[in-house]
């Protein structure tokens, strides 16, 4: 993804100001690293965006900012990327172990601690594997070269004759051998490296490329892992924040006397911000309930009026821009598709523990952008960069939903008033209401195709949901693809796993299916006829082969559908089988999805990600939908906002294509895009009913079973 597109996505996170310059304080860094030696040297530039001046942040080019080897040979790796279930704590450590030629077990990752790690824009956009991976590999490779050279000096040997392996440098001629820790002890190594990094090709990987189990898996099955909401500080108290009666509301009056009378309760008031602090969360909840507030909530649209307002607001005039090309086509089709607002609903809601010590603020919080949250805190409390530290313990996920720092700011505000560390954990209802959402969108597609199946004209407009993956991968002579912003969106909109790629793929791959049926062609054959991209063809073919595409015909009870696409360096295609019962209930029976994103760093972690994305996709495809009216979400509970559960999960098969000849791309997002259109196409194949709105099931948003509706 180009840098400006990344910045565009960063802007989507409701971050209002530009990020401030952050300079790594070297002395502080050294102190925090403790004993042992730093391997200091310049490194080659350009392995990632870091080489550039990114939003005012020139990232450190010294190996020491990224990798530290202590006297025992223990390796600490520093990165601003964070672990949220996508398994990069493991996969990045594999990459470092590989290039450093060190045992996997000797690598520990320090992630997302703004005092310790180099500045990072955030963990989103599937950027960790393609950018942080090579960055850390370059640093590790450089460190390894230094270690070899230092050993060569000590032994008066030719560096080229030495072998770095398993955390040791060995001289095969003399059998002399030194551990990495023994080499760095007592010496400070400074050197410059020039030229392009020659990283170990994936074909020769021994540690990377293997199914290494999750590094700290045991912590999770024993309940020992400390999530942000589990952090405890000495003297810590619990906070709650009063929420407005609706979006854009203003506070008319508030009576806090009832709460103030409760023993041990402190009420905090700062403009429209009202909160309480108590020794335990139960008392804080009771106290909050005793606050009587009157709000003025302005009139706002409800989800019933959403799409009409959206089309109008985003300037959908229904006019075509490819009239001539369409006129020459033998078959024409014009259809509209929609996607609803949906919630991330990470199982761990937003949580923060804030602590003020001597004017310095430390916050432990769950976020995908620790440095972004740090900036928000610095702004909110007018602090210098050196006065705020954000730490991000591996959290209960985010899916693009935890880029902002509102919970951290609230906890810090309460802690400032309380004079004690404060823990604030949002309730599920707060998370459903006061987080941001995946934007709703309308997609208009007009197309023209010849009777022989050749696509000749294509026009795809996306209103509000976003531009990602709006470009068709299919060959077409005349095309227009355009994203239209809507500035008056009624809900806070932000990033999401796959973001607009889900909406644009749903529209495009459904439309392609419609065209195939108009032509009487097999949907897979029609796609392949119009597709040159070899990588995309390969995933379509792999999924179809494993699925047994075309072996059976769809019936009224069983339908088969296919869909695929590419985004952010990932290529995917899915074949789905659905079952329709007499009551028109839909059940997804089986999905085979093929995936290719270059060289595979950890096949087990990758399968887990793709499978997880497929399961999550079921929700958006069939039943997830944020409902709202009068500035309020009306289904802010899991009882009303239905997410995929065990019973919704089909038989899933992931077919991985490992392209060791290609650089590794990220895989956290694009695995989500193919399922919805594949399922919709399968429903059509069985029922003849074409569903163009996500979620596709009638009764969406409540606990009703998914039912294929009629047009």
């Amino acid at each position: 993804m180009p840098v400006d597109e990344l910045m565009k996505e960063a802007e989507l996170h409701e971050v209002r100001d530009r990020i401030r310059l952050f300079e790594l304080d070297r002395r502080e860094f050294l102190r925090l690293c403790g004993g042992g030696l730093l391997v200091c040297m310049s490194a080659v530039a350009g392995a990632q965006e870091s080489g550039r001046n990114f939003g005012g942040h020139a990232l450190p080019q010294e190996v020491s900012a990224w990798i530290h080897i202590d006297a025992d040979g223990k390796v600490t790796v520093f990165t601003g990327k964070v672990e949220i279930g996508q398994n990069i704590r493991t996969s990045l450590a594999q990459s470092v172990a590989e290039e450093l030629r060190a045992p996997f077990a000797s690598i520990a990752m320090t992630m997302g601690d703004t005092d310790l790690v180099p500045w990072d824009m955030g963990t989103f956009g599937s950027r960790t594997t393609p950018t942080m991976g090579p960055q850390l590999r370059t640093m590790a490779m450089t460190a390894r070269q230094m270690l070899v050279e230092a050993a060569a000096q000590r032994w008066k040997a030719d560096p080229a004759s030495l072998i770095a392996e398993d955390g040791r440098v060995t001289n095969p001629a003399t059998s002399e051998s030194l551990g990495y820790g023994e080499i760095t002890r007592g010496e400070k190594l400074v050197a410059k490296v020039s030229g392009d990094p020659t990283l170990t090709p994936a074909t020769e990987w021994k540690i990377a490329g293997t199914a290494m189990p999750k590094v700290n898996g045991r912590e999770f099955v024993t309940g020992k892992h400390t999530y942000p909401s589990d952090v405890v500080r000495p003297g810590m108290v619990f906070g709650k924040v009063l929420r407005a009666a609706g979006y854009n509301a203003t506070l008319i009056s508030v009576d806090t006397s009832g709460a103030e009378k409760m023993p041990g309760v402190q009420v905090v008031r700062d403009g429209d911000f009202v909160g309480v602090v108590a020794d335990d969360v139960w008392t804080a909840e009771q106290a909050l309930g005793k606050i009587d507030a009157k709000w003025n909530v302005p009139a706002q649209i409800s989800n019933a009026e959403l799409f009409a307002a959206l089309k109008k607001g985003a300037g959908d005039d229904g006019q075509t821009e490819i009239g001539a090309a369409l006129a020459s086509a033998e078959v024409k089709l014009e259809k509209t598709y929609t996607v609803a607002y949906i919630a991330h609903a990470p199982l761990e809601p937003r949580a923060a523990v804030a602590e003020w010590t001597d004017g310095k603020l430390t916050v432990w919080t769950g976020t995908q952008r620790p440095f972004g949250v740090k900036d928000e805190l610095a702004r909110a409390f007018r602090l210098g960069a050196g006065q705020v530290r954000v730490m991000m313990p591996d959290m209960g996920s985010g899916y693009g939903g935890k880029h902002t720092g509102e919970c951290a700011v609230e906890a810090a505000r309460l802690a400032k008033a309380a004079g004690k560390p404060v823990k604030l954990v949002w309730t599920r209802e707060e998370e459903f209401t006061w987080a941001y959402f995946r934007p709703a969108g309308v997609m208009e597609i007009r197309s023209g195709v010849q009777r022989d199946g050749t696509l000749v004209a294509w026009e795809h407009h996306n209103y509000n949901s976003g531009p990602s993956a709006i470009g068709t991968p299919y060959k077409v002579a005349t095309k227009v693809e355009r994203y239209h912003e809507w500035r008056e969106a009624p809900l806070a909109q932000g990033s999401y796993r796959g973001l607009a790629a889900t909406a644009n793929h749903f529209a495009r791959e459904t439309h392609m299916d419609e065209l195939a049926h108009e032509l009487g062609m097999d949907p897979l054959e029609f796609r392949l006829k119009n597709l040159d991209d070899a990588r995309l063809r390969a995933v379509f073919e792999a999924a179809a082969e494993r699925f047994g595409w075309g072996k059976e015909k769809s019936t009224a009870q069983r339908g088969f559908g296919v869909a695929g696409g590419t985004e952010k360096g990932g290529y995917t295609a899915a074949c789905a089988e659905v079952e329709i019962d007499a009551g028109k209930k839909v059940r997804i029976r089986r999905v085979v999805q093929a995936w290719e994103s270059g060289a595979v760093v950890n096949p087990d972690g990758l399968r887990n990600q793709i499978m997880g994305a497929m399961v999550q996709a079921i929700g958006g495809a069939l039943f997830e939908q944020v409902q709202f009216a009068h500035g309020k979400v009306t289904n802010p509970h899991f009882a009303e906002y239905r997410v995929p559960r065990f019973r919704d999960t089909p038989e899933i098969e992931v077919v991985l294509i490992d392209r060791t000849d290609l650089p590794s791309a990220g895989a956290g997002e694009t695995g989500i895009v193919a399922l919805a259109p594949a399922v919709g196409n399968a429903i059509f194949a069985a029922t003849g009913v074409r569903l163009r709105d996500m979620p596709m099931a009638v009764g969406a948003g409540n606990r009703e079973q998914a039912v294929a509706g009629s047009e």
């Binding site: 898996g217 099955v221 024993t222 199982l347 809601p349 209960g396 499978m611 997880g612 999550q616 065990f646």
Partner: protein, 164 residues
């Protein structure tokens, strides 16, 4: 605030809690047992699942005062002298987690299920587990872990199981 005596993971534990305070808050905030998670507070997600006398129970909906006579087992109480239970071991071997936030509740629900049905049918697995949510979508691996714990080569006898 009233004195509260609970029997947790084989030990008597004393604390003070408000009347009606959910067991989840008492475990997490008063007894330091943060392995049991909050996901919804409404009985919808299963992240807070603990065992009361061996039965899977939503600690967010159970007042602590209602648990005084029960033997409570939390995720922290499964491991014995460094030995994981068959269920914990199976979750590790199947890689049945992503962010892991649902894992405590999943392991507890699966533990209760396998105590009741040593070799559960597919329907029994669904029945027991459907109330436990994994937003990361790890269900197929969790189901596989349960099968492995029930039928696999993993040792699953004696002290390795949680005591009720």
């Amino acid at each position: 605030m009233a004195d509260l005596k609970l029997h947790v993971n084989g030990a008597e534990m004393q604390t003070q809690a408000a009347e009606d305070e959910p067991l989840l808050w008492v475990l997490r905030n008063r007894l330091g047992l943060t392995g049991t998670k909050y996901g919804c507070g409404e009985g919808q997600c299963g992240a807070c699942t603990v065992l009361l006398d061996g039965k899977a129970t939503r600690s967010c909906l159970t007042p602590a005062s209602a648990a005084v006579d029960a033997k409570i087992t939390t995720i922290e109480g499964l491991e014995q002298q460094g030995r994981l239970t068959a269920v914990q071991q199976a979750f590790l071997e199947e890689g049945a987690m992503q962010c892991g936030y649902c894992t405590s509740g999943m392991v507890m629900a699966a533990t209760a299920l396998l105590r009741e049905h040593a070799h559960p049918s597919e329907e029994q697995v669904m029945e027991a587990m459907n109330g436990n949510m994994c937003r990361c979508g790890t269900y197929p691996r969790i189901a596989a872990a349960i099968r492995r714990a029930a039928w696999g080569t993993v040792e699953k006898k004696g002290a390795a199981y949680a005591r009720g």
